[in-house]
């Protein structure tokens, strides 16, 4: 509290309008908006994402029910609010398409039990549950989390649904499927830059497409479409996605301008990796994101800068999860200091010492 501000009532100013959209409706809309991206992901990369989503959702609901029972909370309303489903879907979308079954299940456990319910359930968790689950998995199983499949167009014999499920459950037929895994565009970029290759050389690799990574560009565009829909429906405000995308575009644009031969253009960063999924669906988590308009801008800009920093200079090819978690740490501070001025109120004058 700054001195001389009077009552500390609410984050925003008047008018105070009761919320019309309930949690369940918001979560349903988020899932609907995710659909185009999931569809594009499945069409371009095979059945893996759908298998992961199914496993993660089922186990997340199971863990949620278990924790609610232990905490003696009513099962019905909390299970039906859809927040666990959204968490599970976001987590599953971050995992490699072909993953052993225990990866989404363990991730759901960490996300739901560790990051959400142990802190008191929806609304009390300080960290984005899906990203906390993903980050722990990434640190624990770097090999499994970095084994990505090529887009279907580059595969010799794509796995059908049965083969994907068999791989997930027991690793059956892995001999054939292992051959389809390869470096992602971001991996390839990192290796190429490390070897001192020119950007044109790197971009000529088959994993690169027209705008960014092959396949990834369309997945990102589909997530962008769904995200814009969410903004237009006023489910999320424009501040965070615009700040994430804007700051990432700005910083990668500056790097590209200074050394076009050593840095990929902004378009590659915007449509590569998990940028759009992160900007529109993960960073905008209503519980763990900043809540005031100026706070949201700072929060989003920080995420964009951190994504670039981790991709360019960090130890991991993509950095959306760590960027979101790190900026999540700053949210209490942002919410305290970046409040909108209440209409009619004057800025408190700085008093001199006398």
């Amino acid at each position: 509290m700054r001195a001389g501000q009077g009552l500390d009532v609410a984050q925003g100013g008047a008018p105070f309008i009761p919320p019309a959209k309930r949690v369940r409706r918001i979560m349903t809309l988020v899932l609907v908006a995710l659909a185009p991206g999931i569809l594009a992901y499945t069409v371009l990369f095979g059945w893996g994402p759908l298998v992961n989503i199914t496993l993660a959702t089922a186990s997340a609901l199971g863990f949620e029910a278990l924790m609610l029972r232990i905490r003696r909370r009513p099962l019905g309303p909390f299970l039906a609010d859809g927040s666990a489903v959204v968490t599970a879907v976001l987590l599953a979308l971050c995992l490699p398409p072909l993953a052993p079954w225990w990866l989404p299940v363990l991730g759901s456990f960490i996300a739901i039990v560790g990051a959400k319910q142990l802190y008191g359930g929806l609304g009390y968790n300080p960290f984005n549950p899906a990203m906390a689950g993903y980050a722990v998995l990434l640190i624990a199983f770097p090999l499994e989390l970095s084994t990505w499949t090529l887009p279907l167009a580059l595969q010799q014999a794509p796995a059908d649904l049965a083969a994907t499920i068999a791989y997930s459950l027991g690793g059956a037929g892995t001999g054939g499927l292992d051959a389809m895994t390869a470096a992602t565009p971001l991996d390839r970029l990192r290796t190429g830059v490390g070897l001192g290759e020119a950007m044109t050389e790197i971009r000529a690799a088959p994993v690169f497409g027209i705008l960014a990574g092959r396949g990834w560009e369309w997945v990102n565009l589909a997530f962008l479409g769904g995200g814009v829909l969410l903004v237009l429906m006023r489910v999320i405000s424009w501040h965070i996605p615009v700040a994430v995308v804007g700051s990432l575009a700005l910083i990668s644009g500056i790097a590209f301008f200074l050394g076009p031969n050593h840095y990929p253009g902004p378009l590659f960063h915007l449509l590569g990796g998990a940028t759009m999924l992160g900007a529109f669906f993960i960073a905008t988590d209503p519980v763990t994101a900043a809540t005031t308009p100026s706070g949201k801008l700072v929060y989003g800009a920080g995420i964009g800068v951190l994504i670039y920093a981790i991709r360019a200079w960090g130890g991991y090819p993509d950095g959306v999860a760590f960027a979101v978690l790190l900026m999540g740490l700053t949210v209490p501070l942002l919410d305290t200091y970046l409040r909108p001025r209440i209409f009619g109120a004057r800025r408190p004058r700085v008093r001199d010492g006398s």
């Binding site: 722990v136 640190i139 624990a140 199983f141």
Partner: protein
């Protein structure tokens, strides 16, 4: 606490009701840092136990000569001497463990549990009681170190008692137990976050046991009499925090 406190009560306090790690939350820095395996926890726990007993005895014996105004610097001086002795002994006889514990061995000097017991108990009680208090508190701390080390090693590596030979000698190499065959390991449990989460789980587990015991008292379960005796015993106030 008065000199009339029984030895049984001292042990109860040290091991459970006023456990320096789980209740007083003292000495957390070494506790969190070195408990990546059972053996590391055991090594630092034994060193802390030896320090606690020795400093408690010296502080208690030196009571008549320590003026109240300068007691804290005197305690620190005594503790530093004892820790240095233990460190040199370990460096001479247990080189591998000495290297594994690294900076946390000399840092026992700053372990608040040690100075806490000196100030809160040893400086106002006879030598025998002070020795017993140091032993009980050290044993309680050691227990938590070993439990946390076991938890983290089990989840992190899937083993127990790995590298036991650096503490106990070559014969102990066979003590290592592979609990789960073909375990991939879970690195976050060995990293610092695993220490915080593990300690939180241990504290929660202790509180749960206490609550079950309280319910048992109400229901008249005789086997829980051990806990009944110190009902309402005032916990020693926290002397300082790290």
């Amino acid at each position: 606490m008065t000199p009339s406190t029984t030895h049984g009560e001292l042990i109860r306090q040290g091991l459970w009701h006023n456990n320096q790690a789980l209740v007083a939350l003292l000495g957390l820095c070494p506790l969190l840092a070195v408990t990546s395996t059972v053996v590391n926890g055991l090594g630092l726990g034994l060193a802390t136990l030896a320090t606690l007993v020795t400093t408690n005895v010296i502080v208690s014996a030196a009571r008549p000569w320590i003026r109240k105004e300068v007691r804290i610097p005197m305690f620190v001086l005594i503790i530093a001497c004892v820790v240095t002795t233990i460190e040199l002994l370990m460096s001479a006889h247990m080189e591998a463990l000495f290297l594994a514990l690294g900076i946390f061995l000399p840092l026992i000097v700053t372990n608040c549990a040690v100075i806490g017991r000196a100030e809160a108990f040893a400086s106002r009680n006879p030598v025998a009681h002070a020795a017993m208090d140091g032993f009980a508190m050290g044993l309680g701390f050691l227990g938590v170190l070993v439990a946390l080390g076991a938890l983290r090693e089990l989840v992190g590596h899937g083993t127990l008692m790995r590298d036991a030979d650096i503490l106990l000698g070559a014969w102990a190499r066979g003590l290592e137990v592979q609990v789960w065959a073909d375990y991939r390991g879970f690195l976050p449990a060995v990293l610092p976050p695993g220490a915080f989460v593990g300690l939180a789980l241990l504290i929660a587990f202790k509180n749960k046991l206490d609550r079950v015991a309280a319910r048992g008292r109400a229901g008249g379960l005789g086997w829980l009499r051990f806990w009944r005796d110190s009902e309402g015993a005032a916990a020693t106030p926290r002397v300082m925090s790290e």
